[in-house]
Symmetry: C2
Subunit: 193 residues, 2 copies
């Protein structure tokens, strides 16, 4: 976690953008939440856009930490790691009253059409996340846990994109249903031997 004023701005700003979206969030609001003076924003960020791109990196770093703790834990059987990751996020969203969703998914939806520079950064983020899942699926395939003829990269992208869709529905349903349904279909249909 980044320290100091820059870290505070990123943390508070990420939280507000996570809830309200990028275009719907003003710099002043972020500075008020982080309790830092306006001047310091421009010490750390060239523009609101530059800040938004660094927020994407901030969220990717967060997923990377979760991934290191679970998806890359070789002491757990591969498929179990994916299940644990989904369960961990389901617990997180429960604690957040099923709000917000995935910040990378949200920003993809909001900014995908509006900014080529956001799009490029988000595409890299989605690739990185899917790659982590594909790595685990490759191990699962080696261990005979999933069908040998499954294209693990395609399956990884499908797990991530359908998860993003489930999170969109979760925000409307305000309950765990869409996430549980996602997990059920991924494990009982998509990945079953």
């Amino acid at each position: 976690m980044k320290e100091g004023s820059k870290g505070k701005i990123l943390q508070k700003g990420a939280r507000i953008i996570h809830l309200k979206g990028y275009n719907n969030t003003g710099i002043q609001e972020i500075l008020d939440a982080a309790r830092v003076p306006k001047g310091s924003f421009y010490n750390y960020f060239k523009s609101k856009e530059d800040f938004g791109l660094q927020v994407i990196d901030f969220f990717v770093d967060h997923f990377d930490e979760v991934s290191k703790g679970i998806l890359e834990d070789a002491s757990i059987p591969p498929l179990k790691r994916i299940e644990k990751t989904l369960d961990q996020y389901m617990g997180l969203f429960k604690s957040m009253d099923y709000s917000c969703g995935c910040p990378i998914g949200n920003l993809s939806q909001e900014m995908g059409d509006l900014s080529p520079i956001f799009r490029e950064r988000l595409r890299r983020a989605l690739d990185l996340i899917a790659e982590k899942y594909a790595m685990v699926l490759r191990e699962a395939q080696g261990a005979g846990e999933i069908p040998g003829n499954l294209d693990v990269m395609e399956a990884a992208y499908f797990i991530v994109s359908s998860w993003h869709g489930a999170l969109v529905h979760m925000k409307v349903v305000k309950g765990p249903g869409p996430l549980e349904n996602h997990k059920k279909f991924i494990f009982e249909r998509v990945l079953r031997p």
Copy 2:
């Protein structure tokens, strides 16, 4: 399609919201696009919120028309109708350079946390869309096209939510990949006998 000034405002407004989001769209911008004077907006809509809710109904009516033309066409085998529906939307998004995504999904993502009244309207919209797919899956089950033990309502929600996720990724990838991947996994894994 609604006629007159109200219809024009809804059509133009729906298009702008589809591209830019609800909070990021101003009433003036909609009126300029529809070429109607400001006064007439408040003849038809109590507020921007009231307008937004009617935009949701406008999009649901659009899906309903597509559904009547394909999903409810008893002359086509049930699964083929779902495939044709996905293909029709894929053609639509191709013609839009893979932009915008599903307006119901977008508004769910954007407004799910911000407004209980939007949430309720969107939840009804998602239920209605899933119900249409469930109806076809029920027929597919009767015809032995999909497994008899598949819960068609759960499967319908999964098809819709994972489609919304695929559309989010489409906006970043700017190509058909995520939609093709969705279709592949729905037909080859989720629904296969």
